[in-house]
């Protein structure tokens, strides 16, 4: 059994051992390449955009003045079965067509789709000189076959501090990390404000109600061939926004919490650098630029446990892609 080491952009690393080389896709035309990869990759940025917005809180209660918390958050966005394929329409492409001329459209696997040969219709790639080659469409990553389900993981580091009027400032921040293979940074902030204090009578009730607004920006870049082609890189940037009304109830060391609201994301996936194809000797600069965005209602329910200063929480959220989050950290005051 062959182990697959797929880190973030399997879509492009898959091409290293597939018959569909990136340059073959480019030979089919940049517009066609974008359209094909747009559908193939889509579940990943969608899952990441939904997942990274998880775990902002583990209680609706705000800190006391200068109380604070630090947490590490791990999210897994569940990719629905409907996102395991995307529809390929011949009419949407100029130089890439289904090899079976008797049909005009077909369902192709996405990054989270099937690896089986029978599930991957043949595509014919034709270059400007009329040469063509037919090959099976790209396979999925094999994640579902390996662990039983498709999930997009994400993780975040977060800190919050209590300010005036029962308001918390939440910061998500990792300074730019540079390595030969990648660059990564994130910055985000949120405000959690106690609503109950402003509502007569309600403020006496034995549970907490607050509102949360949060924004987050994740920037990353993965270098494809850092030694020989240092300018070739895959850029992946995601901005997210969340607004929710929260409620929680503390029961001894446990806190049940939940929220309803909206979440949205915008993601850019860019292939940077110059790529020269061997067949037509054409050079493409920054050839691929994919944009994804989405928004949905979000409702989540979680349970946290606090042991002295240690705080551990787990929650499940229903939204465009459902998200399961685990959060561990320290909380004081």
């Amino acid at each position: 059994m062959k182990k697959v080491f797929l880190f973030l952009f399997t879509a492009f690393t898959l091409t290293s051992y597939s018959q569909i080389e990136l340059e073959s896709i480019l030979e089919g035309g940049v517009a066609d390449a974008r359209a094909l990869l747009q559908g193939y990759v889509e579940p990943f940025p969608t899952g990441f955009g939904n997942g990274i917005n998880g775990g902002w809180y583990s209680t609706a209660k705000t800190h006391k003045l200068f109380g604070f918390d630090i947490a590490v958050i791990a999210n897994g966005a569940s990719v629905p079965s409907s996102a395991e394929t995307f529809t390929f329409n011949n009419a949407d492409y100029s130089n890439i067509k289904l090899e079976d001329s008797s049909i005009s459209s077909a369902e192709l696997p996405t990054l989270f789709g099937s690896q089986k040969l029978d599930d991957r219709p043949l595509l014919t790639f034709t270059d400007d000189t009329g040469n063509s080659i037919s090959t099976s469409s790209l396979p999925g990553s094999g994640l579902k076959e390996a662990i039983g389900y498709n999930v997009v993981p994400s993780a975040m580091l977060q800190a919050g501090i209590g300010l005036f009027k029962n308001t918390d400032l939440i910061i998500r921040y990792i300074p730019e990390q540079n390595d030969t293979d990648y660059q990564f940074s994130t910055f985000g902030f949120g405000i959690k404000h106690d609503l109950k204090q402003w509502i007569p009578f309600v403020k006496r009730l034995p549970f907490d109600v607050s509102a949360l607004v949060g924004w987050n920006d994740v920037k990353s870049k993965f270098f494809i061939d850092p030694e020989d082609q240092p300018s070739q890189a895959l850029e992946f940037n995601t901005k997210t926004f969340i607004f929710q009304v929260l409620a929680s109830k503390k029961l001894s060391i446990f806190t049940i919490y939940g929220g309803v609201g909206t979440t949205n994301y915008k993601t850019d996936v860019n292939m940077l650098g110059s790529y020269t194809t061997s067949a037509s000797n054409t050079t493409y600069t920054d050839p691929i630029s994919l944009k994804y965005d989405g928004s949905s209602m979000k409702a989540n329910l979680g349970l946290s446990i606090k042991l002295l200063f240690l705080n551990i929480a787990a929650e499940y959220a229903t939204q465009e892609y459902d998200v399961f989050s685990l959060r561990a950290g320290f909380s004081i005051r």
């Binding site: 597939s18 018959q19 791990a74 037919s134 094999g142 076959e145 662990i147 300074p175």
Partner: protein, 165 residues
């Protein structure tokens, strides 16, 4: 800064661990269909009405970054009498052998026009002779009359369907 390095490493490891546990159900396979050309060069025919020549065709491109052929078959062969022939056409019995495949048909090749020979799917496998992306072939021809030219070329275009992994 050192603390952030640790956290960053944790984040990377978390994602990498998730995906590194992917194990496929066997090797990923691809079907590839492509065409490959080879020229059978006939020389010094004089008054002879038959010839036999052998050659090989490189189908290494089908492997690309894959490591091996799982299946390989010839879907069809297109024979074209090239422009170096001084006459117009030749007619005869053509016998083409590629590994276990043998095609024997009477054909008329007109200069510049391809004649397609479809290989039955139940007898089209060349897997047994594909070695490192090269397959050999032998072509024989018995013409109904002496060709108008001693030296000419017949182009053979093989349409190959291969499953690789």
């Amino acid at each position: 800064m050192k603390k952030f390095k640790i956290i960053q490493t944790m984040l990377v490891l978390f994602v990498a661990f998730t995906f590194s546990n992917c194990e496929e159900d066997g090797e990923i396979q691809f079907i590839v269909i492509d065409e490959f050309e080879s020229n059978a060069v006939v020389t010094g025919l004089n008054t002879a009405t038959s010839f036999e020549t052998s050659n090989s065709t490189n189908i290494q491109d089908l492997l690309d970054n894959a490591s091996e052929f799982v299946e390989a078959e010839i879907e069809k062969v297109t024979l074209t009498l090239e422009d170096d022939f001084s006459g117009e056409a030749i007619t005869g019995n053509f016998d083409l052998t590629v590994g276990p495949i043998n095609i024997n048909q009477t054909l008329t090749l007109t200069k510049g026009e391809g004649v397609e020979v479809i290989i039955p799917t139940n007898a089209s496998s060349i897997l047994s002779v594909v070695n490192a992306g090269v397959f050999p072939y032998v072509i024989k021809a018995d013409f109904t009359q002496t060709p108008a030219d001693d030296n000419f070329t017949i182009n053979l275009k093989f349409k190959i369907k291969a499953t690789v992994q």
